[in-house]
Amino acid sequence: MSITLQEQPTTDRGFWNDTGKTGIGSWIFSTDHKRIGLLYFYSVLGFFLVGVVLGLLLRLELMAPGRDLMSAQTYNALFTVHGVVMIFLFIIPGIPGAFGNMVMPIQIGAADVSFPRLNLFSWWLYVIGTVLVLLSLFTGGGAPDTGWTFYVPFSARTGTNVSLALFGVFILGFSSILTGLNFVTTIHRLRAEGMTWSRIPLFTWSLYATAWVQILATPILGITLVLVIAERMLGTGLFDAARGGDPIMFQHLFWIYSHPAVYIMILPAMGIISEIIPVFSRKPIFGYKMIAFSSLAIAAAGSLVWGHHMFTSGMSDTAVLVFSFLTFIVAIPSAIKVFNWVSTLYRGSISLDPPMLFALTFILLFSIGGLTGLILGAAATDVHVHDTYFVVGHFHYVMFGGTGFAFFAAMHYWLPKFYGRTYKTRPAVIAWGLMFVGFNLLYFSMKVLGMQGMPRRYYDYLPEFANLNMVATVGSWILAIGLVLMLVNLFKGLFKGAPFTGNPWGGATLEWSTPTPPPTLNFITEPVVTHGPYDYTALKHDVREADSGVTP
């Protein structure tokens, strides 16, 4: 495969206009991985914001005991929709769909993914699934009120529009599977000359591990959801004890997917951190092989720990023993990654640009989330905090403090590359500070509330929980202000900000060697890889070459 630039002359705007097509059709029917990546980016960001608004409404209702602004039924529908939107519309498709698509093919020196049209189809499936989920909110018996976990028998009985929502999530699953297939094939088949397995950037490695989980685990979710639909429509009784079925079997099936799904959420985020830390420390990542290997180890071993969500369910004590043990084993590779990231900083030359600030915050928040996960993995302590606000605090630390902040880091790291313009640093840092403070007020309070015994999914609570709930709600406002400031600053910069060219942070992965923004086919000449992704001594040589005009 040889890449030469097509008829159209390269312009400053790269893939934005070098094909000469700029209408809406050139986007929603594009097979260019960068355009598809941006389509995903705006879709998932949009739903993230929808989810945030719903979360703020939940917090508003919980500001004080009693009824504040909505009924119990509305509240239950809101937390269900908040969960479904955040999980299935934002965080699972988020990083692979947006940054995986935009960056991964360039990182391995490819012109696109293996199956560009399948890639577009994945995005369309995402849109269709989303429309079905949204339709379910306004039709039939009204918005689902089951929680995002859809536990039977409640989900089989409630009069709300659960079936349509389940079908929407079923479709979203296909989108995820196809993205996984596409990425695995691409990483195997389309690597540039010299891009050996040990030179693959860690972000791409993390996507590779994630992709296998997407392919192998998602079908189980699909089947499970269809079984619940059958339960509702045909009364099959598979999960109904009165007819020989088993409600606990549903929980097993659900978590066989949904625990690995948390690795779909977190692994790519870890990949982003592994890119940013070395670049802003100007030092090779510490323990490249260990980090790449631990991604695979997490993906594999993570498939065997689903039962830790069910310690109180009534499953056998033997199962509790095994799942608790395996859960602690999976904790180890995550700890190793944290140690490796921190060691990378040692004797580096550290610059706290916004991407780095968000990445370092990831390490802190993810560690807090991970360490509280140990409480949940130990059978004795899980019994007390299971289904309480401790869990709500825990998973927000991991998913929002972890994956969410990694997503923000990636936005500040890669988007200027694709837009050719950049944001102002100062407002970004102020926004970061607000978000950091708000985040911890919001979710740390939740952990304490959980320790005190406040159950989750509670529309109302006893007066003894009032103070911390107020703190959490105030925290959510600070967080929201920071978020708005961050987005306004970022998008103002991307559309109107100062030009962004070259490789200002000194990244050594291939995306920093292409023109900014990259042309449709990514590279002007097919790249030949001669050094590892974090080899900054080799980079100096390249940059000198770049200065002399050999590569732009």
């Binding site: 039924q73 004795a380 302590t381």
Partner: protein, 403 residues
């Protein structure tokens, strides 16, 4: 490692302390090192990296092996504590809990039952958990115990309340609209007090009407109040004969609450849903006599209660026997013995009359004693206008028996 514990807290709290302690050390360590590196090696001070180290086998081995040992210790303590929760101490008292959307019922060996969990302090209690509808969760934060309640399966927890007092019970597993209202308490009583409570029990928890008792037992009162306040469903107060707008399918209709409507609303609650409420009520399959008793209560019937109230006790409590004897002797007022159905001379409106002391007369002279005064007595008796119909009936029945 200990295998038997007197309380669940004793088994669980040390595990919390161990894991939180170790985590705190790790977190502070990681954060301190990270912050130190960021400050020490900031670009203004360290313009070029002074190392190109990209790994160190020994370090990697150390930080793989040490955390492994640490988490294995956590696993082990966690498991041991969990076993303590599973192994119920010998001689624990058993209570059967039934969860439903959205209320609790606790039944005791002696036949007593109620919506609060009364227990003797200092004694281990085993609670057997069953659900009649969806998943619920039985959670007492104070004792660190929790277990899901799964339809078709009996789970259990045990705990010991060392001190008398009141402790929250929450439903921990999401169960629909009334989930957060599905809360009650453990009432831990000193042992002797508990024994007395249990004995006094056969009568049920003071529910006056058998229909009301059924409403409580089936959990209806979890969502419907009897005092007019709004819960998840409409209140039962003055429900009989009320005009209500219901939605059947898409259309609104106005109905009057009557027997046929109530039966349908209980057995097929989603056929007509009262406007403004979610279709959240589960359907109930009840025995005909249970249904009738409930409807009787909602209608405001009182007859059914008569046998429950004892006329003699009432007469004692109301102080009647201070003035009226039961043995034919004369007191401040005439004796009650043989009064019912006898001929008495009374002054009514200034005229002397001879009348039969039938139910109607007796009723009147209890409610308004001054109106008809038996000859030879002073009009000193206080009126009793507040006796309920049920109480009045009980008293009359007793008087009749005193003949």
């Amino acid at each position: 490692m200990k295998t038997t514990y007197l309380t669940t807290n004793e088994a669980i709290d040390p595990v919390f302390i161990f894991i939180f302690g170790a985590s705190l050390v790790l977190l502070l360590g990681i954060t301190a090192v990270m912050v130190y590196f960021v400050i020490r090696y900031r670009r203004s001070r360290s313009p070029e990296p002074t190392s190109t180290a990209d790994g160190n086998l020994w370090l990697e081995i150390v930080w793989t092996v040490l955390p492994t040992l640490l988490v294995l210790a956590m696993f082990y303590y966690g498991w041991a504590g969990y076993l303590a929760l599973r192994n119920v101490p010998e001689g624990a008292m058993e209570v059967n809990a039934t969860a439903r959307m959205w209320s609790w019922n606790f039944a005791y060996p002696g036949g007593r039952s109620g919506t609060k969990l009364y227990v003797p302090a200092g004694k281990p209690i085993k609670v057997n958990l069953t659900s009649v509808d969806v998943l619920h969760g039985f959670y007492i934060p104070a004792f660190r115990v929790k277990r899901d309640i799964v339809p078709g399966m009996t789970n259990h927890v045990w705990f010991t309340a060392t001190k008398p007092g009141s402790y929250d019970i929450f439903c921990s597993s999401y169960c629909g609209t009334g989930h957060s209202a599905m809360i009650t308490t453990v009432e831990a009583l000193p042992e002797a007090e508990f024994a007395a409570w249990l004995k006094e029990g056969a009568a049920g928890e003071g529910a006056a009407h058998p229909g009301l008792a059924l409403l409580e037992q089936h959990g209806c009162l979890g969502c419907h109040s009897t005092d007019g306040s709004l819960k998840i469903g409409p209140s039962f107060k003055n429900i009989w004969g009320r005009k209500t707008i219901v939605q059947s399918g898409a259309a609104d209709r106005t109905i009057t609450v009557d027997e046929a409507y109530l039966k349908r609303a209980i057995m097929e609650p989603n056929a007509d849903v009262v406007k403004g409420f979610a279709p959240a009520m589960p359907p109930y399959q009840l025995k005909q006599d249970e249904l009738n008793a409930m409807i009787g209560y909602l209608r405001g019937d009182t007859v059914a209660v008569a046998p429950k109230i004892d006329g003699k006790t009432l007469a004692q409590e109301k102080g009647c026997l201070a003035c009226h004897s039961l043995d034919g002797s004369k007191g401040v007022g005439p004796t009650l013995k043989g009064l019912y159905g006898s001929q008495v001379k009374v002054t009514k409106g200034g005229k002397l009359l001879s009348i039969t002391a039938d139910a109607a007369f007796l009723k009147e002279s209890i409610k308004e004693p001054g109106a008809t005064v038996v000859e030879g007595y002073q009009p000193t008796m206080p009126p009793y206008p507040d006796l309920s119909d049920a109480e009045m009936n009980a008293v009359l029945k007793w008087l009749e028996e005193l003949k």
